[in-house]
Symmetry: C2
Subunit: 317 residues, 2 copies
């Protein structure tokens, strides 16, 4: 199968690409390297079945060209920054909504039909039902990021209905593991490298969050692509557990062998639009036979090990 992967140099895009290549598929990878990392493509670029196209997804003509003759589009490029949305309110609109529309148009103009999309548990806002199922009560958006992803989901679903597309929409919890470049584990790791005696924490540490190991995430995506048969297939991806920020801090500091003074902030929100409790119902994906291999604790430690082995990550960002 010939697969177009957008955001191919990203954390999840590159991990999925390596797996697709190892399974014998051909991957056309698109990235503008605004946040993607060239290091993540070193393995792929040694494979004759990989083509890299360095281009911006806002350029529709180039995207139409890249998508020609493809069997599946994996649209994983995005502005994945939840926390700083209010600092640049146009970024989610442009990078997540307009770009998704371009991807859909490039597909339509090429007569393509299958699209996989990286959405987020953030689309549930502050969910009224926890664990939150895919058909939870119609949520009110609390972040520009979540709003932009729910917009993209809506456009994809409408294209499925209007033009006979098949959509696979993944609502991820936060993903951990090799190639992690963004989020609380990196933030804490960098702070502790700079000063292992103290650790300032956004919020009071009681925020409850969910995480999933990147290779479990890739397994789940492939499982859905193989087994889900609806026109619009929406799946939560996460583990059967959640942890508190405090738990995660304990695992990180324990692994690093440091005992910093913890300096908590106030309240159970780290920033405007932060969601104090994210825990997704995952019965639907489990009913397809998938289950995660790593616990959240194991995934956090894998992430710290990756950051230790790849000091450039903490230095660069």
């Amino acid at each position: 199968m010939r697969v177009l992967v957008t955001g191919v140099a990203g954390f999840i895009g590159s991990s999925l690409t390596d797996r697709l290549l190892s399974l014998g598929h051909t991957v056309v990878g698109v990235d503008n390297f605004s946040t993607g990392q060239r290091e993540f493509l070193e393995g792929a670029q040694a494979n004759a079945n990989f083509v890299l196209r360095e281009q911006d997804l806002l350029n529709l003509d180039a995207l139409v060209e890249a998508a020609a003759g493809v069997d599946l589009v994996v649209h994983f490029a995005a502005n994945a920054d939840v926390r700083f949305g209010p600092d640049h309110p146009g970024r989610d609109l442009e990078q997540n909504i307009l770009v998704t529309w371009n991807v859909l148009e490039a597909m339509r103009r090429n007569g393509l039909r299958r699209i996989a999309f990286s959405s987020t548990g953030s689309v549930y806002g502050e969910a009224a039902v926890i664990p939150t199922p895919e058909d939870a009560p119609f949520p009110v958006q609390t972040s520009l990021y979540g709003a932009s992803k729910v917009s993209a989901e809506g456009l994809i679903s409408a294209y499925c209905e209007s033009f006979g597309f098949e959509g696979y929409i993944f609502r991820f919890v936060s993903i951990l593991g090799e190639r992690y470049t963004h989020g609380h584990v990196l933030d804490f790791y960098k702070k502790l490298m700079a000063d292992p005696t103290r650790l300032p924490v956004l919020g009071n540490g009681t925020q409850r969050k969910s995480y999933l190991y990147v290779q479990d995430c890739v397994d789940a995506i492939l499982c859905v692509l193989e087994n889900a048969k609806d026109r619009v297939n929406i799946f939560n991806l996460g583990t059967n557990e959640y942890c508190q920020v405090k738990d995660s801090i304990g695992w990180i500091t324990g692994h690093l062998g440091v005992t910093p003074q913890l300096e908590f902030g106030e309240g159970n929100r780290g920033w405007i639009g932060d969601n104090p409790f994210i825990f997704l119902e995952t019965k639907k994906i489990r009913s397809l036979g998938w289950e995660p291999k790593l616990t959240i604790q194991q995934a956090v430690i894998k992430t710290v090990e990756y950051l230790q082995q790849n000091p450039w990550v903490a230095e660069r960002r």
Copy 2:
């Protein structure tokens, strides 16, 4: 109060504007007259408290200027065409999503906080629960129009959370009454004027739809603006009843005194993405004390009377 109304020359925008002016408010009206009708502003333009700004909402700078010093923004401009979405898939994106983002940015740059928005019952897709409440199960979008409105709702909600805005989101059923220029009553009326002996119908006539009289709609909007106090206030607007397309045909032909041969299509969908059953739960708006004054039948007949008294509407469109 000084109110900015976008889509001021539209069906609902102009009706609300006349009411606001009659209550002594000042209205700055914006329209690009792509679908707005100058006739609808004749009354407003005779009022010293009305300012018309003929401009396109895609022009952000002009919008920032128009919004200066306003107490409330009523954003009712939209591409309101559900049926022909697939013929020009960029139109909903541009007219409904990008324009809404421009409105939000114009507000933020002016330090404004209150926004009322015309959403639609189409955001529920093919609802799993009927009558459909505001917190119905997370819907899958079935039309580009619905997707664009759910996107706009999400952006507004995120701005409420991020920037302290207060949002009033109205999910309308189809609106009927004076200044109606678009929809099944006009389609049937035009066909019957051309040939009263036969009436081709899209679908088999069993589609169940909901309607609301425009002055009842204006009452509801004002009631919510006065009484709703949440950060994001979402209200279905409709009557406690629905009708079949066949019922509506009976009322129209009965009023016109014609007995056409009815030529039904197949299936209970008139077009791709058509929803065979729309019926919204309206307990929430009723709990504020509002109730509609006209039944669907009365509203349909009011609409036919309006079209008879204003032959230019059927001639123009």
